[in-house]
């Protein structure tokens, strides 16, 4: 029994059906962690991208090194670092928050590159045309570059959203009860790991295939000439 829901181990099929609602409880946590982690990554990534774009090297180099460091070290270790080290500095967060923060930190480095690539993909001619029309630097960026960068950025962000979802099971090591840890608890108690773990795999597969389809649709639907900002 877990979350007050009983399971029936008489045969594999009834077992699978009886634990599905329990796994879906875990899935809710997985999705919450995905969304919160993605939100943190979006904001931190934007800050990192902005710092990396600053002309002064005193600012851009440390930002670049931090970004590289976040990208080249394992999520698991970053998570343990936050989980064990933050409390030593008096910052005690719930495991779920620590997990979402770790996901956000790791993916902020990836998303900062997505932002940069999206902005750099806007053709030079657009900048030249904006200058010819005597637009200010600020207007050029906000009204010419960003509206054309967004359709390029969004599909890539969608792919990283899916990657974050696939990394959420790592949070199980700090006691976050997401779908995989729920499946393991069921396995520990019934000595049947095959059914719950296979189900988690299948649920993941369905979700990622749906998400991949969604991203493709979105990519096609977005106007490549730019999104009107007003």
């Amino acid at each position: 029994m877990l979350f007050g829901i009983e399971w029936d181990t008489s045969d594999n099929l009834t077992f699978a059906i009886s634990i599905l609602p329990i796994l879906l409880r875990g899935l809710v946590v997985t999705i919450q962690a995905t969304i919160l982690g993605f939100f943190v990554a979006m904001v931190l990534g934007l800050i990192l991208a902005a710092l990396k774009a600053v002309p002064s090297r005193v600012v851009s180099w440390p930002a670049r090194i931090i970004s590289e460091f976040l990208r080249d070290t394992p999520l698991l270790i970053q998570l343990f670092f936050l989980y064990y080290v933050l409390p030593e500095f008096g910052l005690v967060l719930p495991a779920f928050m620590t997990g979402a923060l770790a996901l956000g930190l790791q993916y902020s480095a990836y998303l900062s590159e997505v932002y940069r690539a999206g902005i750099e993909a806007v053709p030079r001619g657009q900048h030249e045309a904006a200058r010819a029309l005597d637009l200010t630097g600020r207007d050029t960026f906000a009204r010419i570059v960003v509206p054309q960068a967004i359709p390029r950025i969004i599909p890539a962000m969608g792919n990283y959203l899916v990657s974050i979802m696939k990394d959420v099971p790592v949070l199980s090591v700090v006691t976050v009860l997401e779908m995989l840890s729920v499946a393991r608890i069921i396995g520990d108690r019934t000595f049947n790991y095959l059914v719950p773990l296979t189900m988690v795999g299948a649920i993941y597969l369905i979700l990622t295939l749906l998400a991949a389809y969604g991203v493709r649709r979105l990519d096609r639907a977005l106007p490549k000439t730019g999104i009107p900002m007003k």
Binding site: I77, F80, M165, L180, T198
Partner: protein, 223 residues
């Protein structure tokens, strides 16, 4: 314990991480070429197998795959009368290799498809067999294009090896957790470990750049 005393156990763990990365990257590389080429095969069976492999291993979480191979596969083996219990090392290499191979397969497929159409047309005009087209025309031009994404995947794989500590394999992440339980000195240990992984990633990137230069010579001249 002084922090320099941590270096010996962490170094031993790092060596396990290096070996894991090495073997799983090689397994992943083989699978990437097999499935990437298989997806473009003229035979329905090869194509279907490759697509199934790629989608399953890219579509699910690595940790789910690792636990499935470690905890669930032996049970499945029992029901069909096979002994599928493997050591953590073997399961770790298998899971990492299968996972990274699926990502690599898409890189291989993309690079082969990016070879100019005229190259294939010229090969056909010169009466090359399909095997010759693959090994003498497509791959030599495609492999240099695969190297930058392969660099990213190798780093990804190095980072992913940390997860095998969760099936009791004594890699760097596992040693760090052991030391932490023993000394409670989290800040120093995890800072050291983060920098050790970062250092290994830099070495790996340098190695992959070297490989990229080596294969870069296969690029056709005049392009």
């Amino acid at each position: 314990m002084h922090w320099t005393e941590y270096l010996v156990p962490l170094g031993q763990g790092a060596w396990v991480t290096v070996q894991l990365t090495f073997w799983s990257t090689i397994l992943g590389g083989i699978l990437a070429f097999a499935a990437g080429i298989g997806k473009l095969s003229a035979f329905f069976v090869f194509r279907w197998l490759s697509v199934a492999y790629i989608e399953v291993f890219r579509g699910t979480s690595l940790l789910v795959q690792l636990f499935w191979l470690y905890f669930a596969m032996p049970i499945l083996g029992e029901t069909v009368g096979l002994d599928l219990r493997f050591s953590p090392v073997l399961v770790g290499i298998l899971a990492l290799g299968l996972n990274i191979g699926a990502y690599g397969a898409e890189v291989v497929r993309g690079a082969i498809q990016a070879v100019a159409r005229t190259q294939y047309e010229a090969a056909r005009a010169l009466n090359f067999t399909p095997r010759q087209v693959l090994f003498r025309i497509a791959l030599p031009q495609a492999i240099p294009e695969m190297m930058p994404p392969f660099d990213n995947l190798a780093i990804q794989n190095l980072k992913d090896t940390a997860l095998v500590s969760l099936i009791t394999l004594g890699d760097l992440a596992f040693r760090a957790e052991q030391l932490r339980n023993f000394t409670q000195d989290s800040t120093v240990i995890y800072t050291l470990v983060l920098f050790m992984y970062f250092g290994m990633a830099l070495v790996l990137t340098a190695f992959m750049r070297g490989l990229a230069r080596m294969t870069g010579r296969w690029r056709p001249s005049g392009r």
